[in-house]
């Protein structure tokens, strides 16, 4: 008689589905956080670059908090703070909001770097051709600045994708949490960790490789 068999069971094909679904949730969560967070971050970055007082003295220290406190602490704090102010959020919502703010704070500094990478003489040249401020932003600063900081932005985005694993502490069953659940049940620790790792790697490695390739090409 083997009583453990009812409790533990081997890794079965349908467990792959379970992991696959969880991987999709990781993807969805990351995509939302990266896209929304990046848009907000670009606006923040612009504010940082144009306003010394509003950007430098108010916004910057505020954004800095999100880069100086561990993400996992931010998640736990917000998840427990929301009910206090009467917000009813599930783990996904809370995780998404924290990831968006975290992404935007990091993208803000990247975006500011991009705007500052465009030299003043070049911008003056653009304005001297009769471009408006926004035309200069759209046709000169954006394309040049984007090239300058695109690799850094990819770094931030991939970081958020990997860090989304931390939303598991709120109980959200994304890829890493799903792996933990399966490991507890099947005891196939190495196999499942390898599958989860392979998923993150398969997503992150080609993108970072491509970004490095672009950087090399642009630098020539």
């Amino acid at each position: 008689m083997q009583p453990t068999e009812t409790f533990f069971s081997g890794f079965a094909p349908h467990d792959l589905w379970f992991l696959g679904e969880a991987a999709l949730r990781t993807l969805w969560l990351s995509l939302l956080a990266i896209s929304i967070g990046s848009m907000i971050g670009v606006v923040f970055g612009w504010l940082l670059s144009v306003s010394r007082i509003g950007g430098g003295f108010v916004l910057s220290p505020l954004l800095d908090i999100f880069r100086s406190v561990p993400l996992i602490i931010q998640l736990v704090l917000f998840y427990n703070f929301a009910p206090i102010i009467g917000l009813r959020l599930d783990a996904f919502d809370a995780g998404l909001i924290v990831l968006i703010v975290y992404t935007s704070a990091n993208v803000a500094y990247v975006a500011r770097g991009g705007i500052e990478a465009v030299s003043q003489p070049m911008r003056r040249a653009a304005r001297s051709l009769g471009m408006t401020y926004w035309q200069d932003m759209r046709y000169v600063v954006w394309p040049i600045g984007l090239r300058a900081v695109f690799p850094a932005w990819v770094g931030v985005a991939l970081g958020v994708m990997k860090d989304s694993a931390l939303v598991s502490v709120l109980g959200y069953v994304e890829l890493l949490k799903a792996s933990q659940i399966l490991i507890t049940r099947t005891q196939e620790t190495i196999l499942i960790l390898a599958i989860a790792g392979a998923f993150y790697f398969a997503l992150s490695y080609p993108i970072s490789l491509y970004a490095a390739h672009l950087e090399d090409r642009w630098n020539q």
């Binding site: 908090i65 100086s68 406190v69 561990p70 993400l71 996992i72 602490i73 931010q74 736990v76 704090l77 427990n80 703070f81 009910p83 206090i84 102010i85 009467g86 991939l158 990997k162 860090d163 694993a165 931390l166 598991s168 502490v169 890493l176 933990q180 490991i183 005891q187 620790t189 190495i190 960790l193 989860a196 790792g197 993150y200 790697f201 992150s204 490695y205 970072s208």
Partner: protein
Amino acid sequence: MDYNFHWRPVFKALPDLLQAALLTLEVAAISMILGVLIGLGLSLIRIHMKGPVMWLASIWVELARNTPALLQLFFFGFGLGAFGIHFSPYLIVLMGLTFNNAGYLAENFRGGFGAVPDTQIRAARSLGMTAFQTYTRIVIPQVLRIVYYPMTNQMVWAVLMSSLGMLVGFRELSGETQFFASRTFRIFEYFAVTAVIYYIIVKIILGASRLLAMRLFRY
């Protein structure tokens, strides 16, 4: 809002939390020192060697950079546990952070070595310096300056990453906070104070790094 904040128990626990913060700093600092040494080795292997040793170094670097730090920590925790190799939570976090630091730093170092012109090496060799002297006296000091700020960032990262220790039962700052919070259910209050402590630690690291840079790099 009918929630009553209770800060008193948190302040009572503050000495314990600060003690744990020292543990956080300790594990981050040691993982950084080891990470720099290993990262330097990995980058030199990737630059100068071919074959299996180079592949292994590359696999280390790419795995560290392209998978979540938490997954790496889990691997050193219950991953190795599956082989019957068990480590204390302290060692699990130390190994996880070192693995991660070394990977990221190796890539920084590789960029740093690339940024020192070959002509510097030629000049040193033409003076009769050996390859080893050229590396230790001419190349590495210049590389260290180039990677100084990335290294500072990595140190900040190491502190932030060490918070994952609470998920493998390590009672550094976050783990200790979790321990107190779960006993009193004052989760928000405890973690808010911990967030402040992390913020201060990070600011101290950045400030100290800036001061050190002023002393080190006068050129």
